[in-house]
Amino acid sequence: MTLLNDATALRSLHARARGWARVLKLPFRQQRWRGHAGEFMGGGTGSSLDFQDHRIYLPGDDPRQINWQAYARTGTYSMKLYREEVRPLVDVIFDVSASMFAFPAKEQRALELFAFVVEASLQSGATLRCHAIAGGNHQHLEPEVILSGQWPERVRELHASAAAPALNRLPLRSGAMRLLISDLLFPGEPESTLACLSARNGRGIVFAPYAQDEADPGWDGNYEFIDPETSLPHEHRVESALLKRYESAYKRHFELWKAAALKHGIAMARVSAAVDFQKALQHEGIASGGVESA
């Protein structure tokens, strides 16, 4: 039984993810948010304790905000403005294409990342909205379903696809933090995908789990490669020269993604499946700005 099919294991994973979320946070502080009242600094004035500015009272202003001490000194109505505190919007986009679960370690890491972002978002009081996506198909996942570990049953209805996830079809919210968990192993330019993450004042973060079997497969000889998306075999003979070319192509693929992410102001963290989750996330996530220390 794989982890994906074990609801109990998924719930247990969330329990651990809550611990990780106390150590590592999503970078909500790096941006001003809009939304319902919450704990994070909003873009406008609000009722928080953080002083923002003084201005002349204008009709229509809340009389409770009048600075009476200043009126006593000057006789002029003036207003004392405080920062607005809001609940950030978080849109989690989880790539559930079969390649994400092709290797047990990678499957583990992908599910850990998903659990982490969900738990980190919830602990931050963010308004969470999750989407599972596979190529052009997507499925909305309610937080309750995710926390109950029942979400894999919902995503099974999505047809397997080797195509790039069609983020433009998702109802991403304006000004939301958009977290994409994907291995990015699909053909095509990264621009179209990343543009969706940063559109409409979105704050994009990409977590890309990867397995050692992909980065350094150590292929040597004849292979019957099985495409996880289609389950079709592909025969190849790999020799050392070809392996080197493959490794450089793999490296170049992610360099293109990183360059495109930088261009769009998107944090991109490749999280290795070979080491402990917390260490891997600290190593890649903090450096890229995908997470921050609590």
Partner: protein, 589 residues
Amino acid sequence: MSLTLANTWGLWALLGLPAVVAIHFLQRRNRRVPATTLFLLEQMKRESRTGNRFERLRTSIPFWLQLLMVLLLTWLLVQPRWLKSDAVQRIAIVMDASASMQAFREPAMQAAEDVLGLLEGPLARAELTLLSSDAEAPSLYHGTQPGELSQALTQWEPLLGVHDFTPALRVARGLAGPKGVVVLITDHPLPASPQFAAKVISVGQETDNAGWAGVTVEEKDSQWVWHALVKNYSRSSQERQWRASAGGAESPWKPLKLGPDETQTLSGPFPPGDVQELVLQLSDDALKLDNELPLVRPLPKLLSLCPLDAAPSALAEMFSRHAHVRIVGVPGESDLVAAVMTPDFSLPEQRHGCFFQARADETAPYLKGSIVAEPHPLVEGLNWQGLLVRDSKPLSRLAQDRVLLWQGERPLISLRQMPAGGRQLLCQFDLETSNARKLPALAVLLHRFLETLRGDKLAPEAANFDVRQKISVAHQTGPEAAPLRLETTEIPLAQARLLRAPSKPGRFIVRQGEKVLLTAAAHFADTREADLTQARPFNEIDQIKAVQIETLHESDPNQRLWLLALLFLLLGSWWFTNSKREAQEAVRA
């Protein structure tokens, strides 16, 4: 330099080559692995050819070391040997001359060819000898050319009976030398290894055979009748046909059914008239020698006996009862005389004769004392103890007398060889007062005496013999006498005593000059040779080859070096394999 493999079974080790290749290939056969980056591989499709079940060979040190190990191991196992520069191949082939080999002539010749096939070709000098196991026969071939030996094989004619191979093997070993190969080709395995380190190849197979096993011809009512034995030697019933042919006429084939190991007697008269020869034929089978039985109408020599005047009629009657003895009245026409020695009788000097004493005094006492026979062919095995002889005056004894029978100190029967040539049997007792006529011993003695005279008589004779049977033919002697001739073979008189019937069945004539002395037929009736049930295959050609290789070749002097190299290769392969694995694990770690 000719290379020979002492152990060709070692070549099986070469199977290790494909095994090593297969192991190296199969461990790299298509492995099914999930690949999430196929789109990257597809981009490099032109560089990545579709996988084959077998990859092309790639440089891998353990792989090459293991191949080298297999080759070295094969080299050591096959035990390579090189022909010595001074090698001389000496092979002496002894062909069994037993008549039973007639049934296996072709396989035997093929076996000889197989032995010649062991020769190393023109690289080594060969000394080849082909002998028959008949020690008296000359060697069939001695030379250096296998082809000539093969031709000489056609002259090999096995016709002997059971005989000892040792003399022929001794000769063969002498010719082949101590390191040469001596091969005996026969039709049955020997109970023990033959002497002189000879190797045996038996080409025999248990074979059914039936044939003539003997014949007697007797005169019955003035007609000659033959009685022939026909025997089935096999363990199963056999059906044959037989017929007789004589004077150009042949009787129709008659069926003959013989049970396992059964012997039947067939009889028949000689055809009337002047037909002197008869051939009994049996339908063909594996051994043809005993399928034909030639016969001649016997013509024994007739002895003429003349009783001299004083001889009683009983004496003439006694001799007339012997076969082929004719009583004549003229002493000059007779071959021998018979007489009673009266006091005034003088023995004829030149004539053969048989003489008895004159009637003794009936009152004289019987001789006393033990009767003792001298060791002589005429009296051998005869019982004289019942002889009662009255005492009488014995003949004076001459130096040329040979006493055959004594009673006490008195000679009873003597054989006198007269200087003029007469051979005379002197019985010093009378027939009337003694009981000699009642004794079988006297009849046998007279028969033997007559037969010796008959044998010495110069007269034509016809008789039947077994093949190679010893023949005694009376012939003229003297410096001017012509040699004997057996068909076309001339036999010096000095060797006349060695005369034997031919080895092959058939009619033959012995002449002296133009005079025919003997007309005869020889037939094969050796039941031991005709019995082919004991023939079995047996082959020591592998040992012959081993001896040949051992003698003519020298082994690889670097064998220990190769063994050491094999050990190093083994260690090297192990080291390279392990180091590669560790390196891969390190990279993965």
